[in-house]
């Protein structure tokens, strides 16, 4: 896979432009609906993690994940848009194939997405739009001596799409949803191929440690399939998340693939303006 070297200041300029454009969209957003849907989900799954800075072997094991999603309809430039904020925490305890070594993987991910309706029918809708994603975490190898940890930190400008379908199952409403997110551009921290973290503390030049990413070196994707349904007075969400995070920068390969089944609790509420008495 080819790798490209970009000057650090050029990358910063590109990212600043990207964030500015996104913030412009945010600033022009107006609340259109006070109705907010908030879902808190918890799940278990299976993860496969590779980071060649620590080991050439793929480590596998169980994953725990928590996710909090908030979605609200707003207006941007007189167009209706869904504004989604999604925060995830996932943790995995992993073993190498021979079960002689273990790793701990932790990642926090925050996505802020604007979804513009593209197709709206009575039951079916499709929307898509830009997304900002920030990730921070670490991978710890329990038996490595001078290279026990790899830090994970990257931000992306991504594109996201969502399809929804409303139906009924045994007389109860069922809301099906599929969402996928694909990073387009980003910046990622990475040590160089053989660089020790000790050396990073000595050096004041980190230009080669902040890498420009795009699908050529960060082919990542997140797919979420969910079904919302009521049980009694509760509204629940059953979802499946396929999270494929991977990169190849500074000749270091890494991936974190996971399949997670989640159960969520849906809360819908309306913001009521409060005017204190004069």
């Amino acid at each position: 896979m080819p790798t490209f070297n970009y000057h650090f200041s050029d990358m910063c300029r590109a990212l600043t432009l990207l964030i500015s454009l996104t913030l412009c969209l945010f600033v022009h957003a107006q609340s259109d609906s006070a109705r907010i849907t908030r879902v808190t989900s918890y799940g278990v799954g299976y993860a496969n993690v590779l980071d060649t800075y620590l080991s050439p072997l793929e480590y596998t094991g169980p994953e725990l994940r928590a996710m909090r999603e908030s979605i609200r309809r707003v207006t941007i430039a007189h167009q209706p848009v869904y504004r989604q904020s999604l925060f995830q925490l996932n943790a995995s305890i992993l073993d190498n194939p021979a079960k002689t070594g273990s790793e701990i993987y932790l990642l926090a991910n925050w996505n802020y997405t604007w979804l513009k309706p593209l197709l709206t029918q009575s039951r079916f809708s499709v929307s898509a739009g830009p997304q900002l994603a920030a990730n921070i975490g670490m991978l710890y190898n329990a038996r490595n001596s001078n290279n026990p940890v790899q830090a994970k930190a990257y931000i992306n400008a991504a594109i996201s799409g969502m399809a929804t379908y409303q139906t009924h199952l045994m007389g109860h409403p069922l809301h099906l949803r599929y969402q996928l997110s694909v990073p387009l551009l980003g910046l990622m921290f990475s040590p160089e191929y053989g660089q020790a973290y000790y050396e990073l503390t000595l050096s004041h030049n980190w230009s080669r440690n902040i890498c420009f990413t795009s699908p050529h070196n960060q082919p990542a994707i997140r797919q979420l399939i969910s079904a919302d349904f009521p049980i009694g007075k509760l509204s629940l969400r059953l979802s499946y998340l396929f999270d494929l995070q991977q990169s190849e920068v500074n000749k270091l390969k890494s991936h974190a693939w996971s399949h997670t089944i989640m159960l969520g609790f849906i809360k819908q509420f309306t913001l009521t303006p409060y005017f204190p008495r004069q």
Binding site: P56, G129, I159, L244, S247
Partner: protein, 342 residues
């Protein structure tokens, strides 16, 4: 972008981004583990060219020679023997192969040389009235020379502890810092102690790292400094650092730093070296491998992988040993008295 193009773009990106990034895998067989180990070292080990010039290390030739010793039915123990012997060809004290049953070590960097250190002699010199602070033992000899023993750079030291030690011996005429048989540990401890012996920021050496798979794919050098410990107690009088062949790794780095400082003299035997910062990897069968990955050079951009010569070479003499005398400590005391008299 037209809204109708978005789903198409997403579909195309989904297909592109579903391609997997994986590392080349090797089977958990004798041949697979051999290939994996050879490749890890080939790509990441940092002293190929230097050792090729020093003693003719040829990693490709080693591949051919050791591959002949493999057989599909060989036992795990026999495989360990072959792979550890292959690593011994690197002549590197930082290189180990580690299985659940055993660990391989290269020990010729000290086995083939005089020990130049004795626990028995150290007990005689320290006696029972020494003080222990911050993992260091120290006492003041009758000739008003302070003797400070630091056995491992893995042992924790605190700035407060160093202040206490240097304050306590501040009236002494000279200091002997004994790091013989100190096999290394944390480079930060080396930096922390050396910072007590300089008043100026001094170049201690240089560090490189691999930037690619080739034997010569190295970064530009990072300069390593010894920076004075400001607002702390700093030693201003003559210092002798005692070394032997088992002064290794971070202790070797410490000697590298101290050699650049004006009041410091190195006495004893050549150090054991170990100037590569080690890193770890592993094989398909779960064995761990450790090896030098980032080379460090001295302030003159010279390799110290095979050790640093002392300023004054002294060996412990058998006749002295039999009388309970440490020839190296005595040489240091004499040197300090001469230096003080000047």
């Amino acid at each position: 972008m037209k809204p109708s193009l978005l789903p198409s773009l997403l579909l195309a990106l989904t297909l592109i981004c579903s391609s997997c990034i994986r590392e080349t895998t090797f089977s958990d067989t004798p041949e697979g583990n051999f290939e994996a180990l050879w490749r890890i070292i080939d790509r990441q080990y940092c002293f190929f060219d230097y050792k090729s010039a020093q003693y003719g290390l040829d990693w490709d030739d080693i591949y051919q020679r050791y591959k002949q010793r493999l057989s599909p039915t060989m036992s795990s123990r026999a495989l360990f023997q072959v792979l550890s012997e292959m690593l011994l060809e690197l002549r590197d004290g930082h290189t180990n192969l580690i299985s659940t049953a055993q660990t391989s070590y290269y020990t010729k960097w000290y086995d083939d040389y005089p020990a130049n250190y004795s626990d028995t002699l150290q007990r005689i010199y320290l006696g029972t009235d020494y003080v222990t602070t911050s993992s260091m033992q120290y006492k003041v000899f009758q000739d008003n020379i302070a003797y400070l023993r630091y056995a491992s750079f893995s042992s924790a030291i605190s700035e407060g502890g160093l202040d206490a030690i240097l304050s306590d011996v501040s009236l002494c005429d000279g200091l002997i810092l004994d790091i013989r048989n100190n096999g290394g540990g944390l480079l930060t401890n080396s930096e922390k102690i050396a910072a007590r012996f300089t008043n100026e920021k001094t170049i201690a050496g240089y560090m490189f790292h691999k930037t690619g798979y080739g034997h010569n794919d190295f970064s530009s050098p990072i300069t390593i400094y010894t920076t004075p410990a400001n607002s702390r107690v700093r030693w201003q009088k003559p210092v002798v650092v005692l070394t032997n062949r088992r002064t290794f790794s971070s202790a070797n780095d410490f000697v590298c730093r101290m050699k650049q400082l004006p009041n410091v003299t190195i006495i004893g035997d050549r150090t054991g070296g170990g100037s590569g910062l080690p890193t770890s990897s592993e094989l398909p069968n779960g064995w761990s491998v450790r090896f030098s990955a980032c080379p460090m050079f001295d302030a003159d951009m010279q390799q110290t992988e095979f050790g640093i010569d002392p300023d004054i070479k002294v060996d412990i003499q058998s006749a002295d040993f039999n009388q309970g005398i440490d020839t190296i400590i005595e040489a240091a005391r004499q040197y300090l008295h001469k230096k003080i008299a000047q």
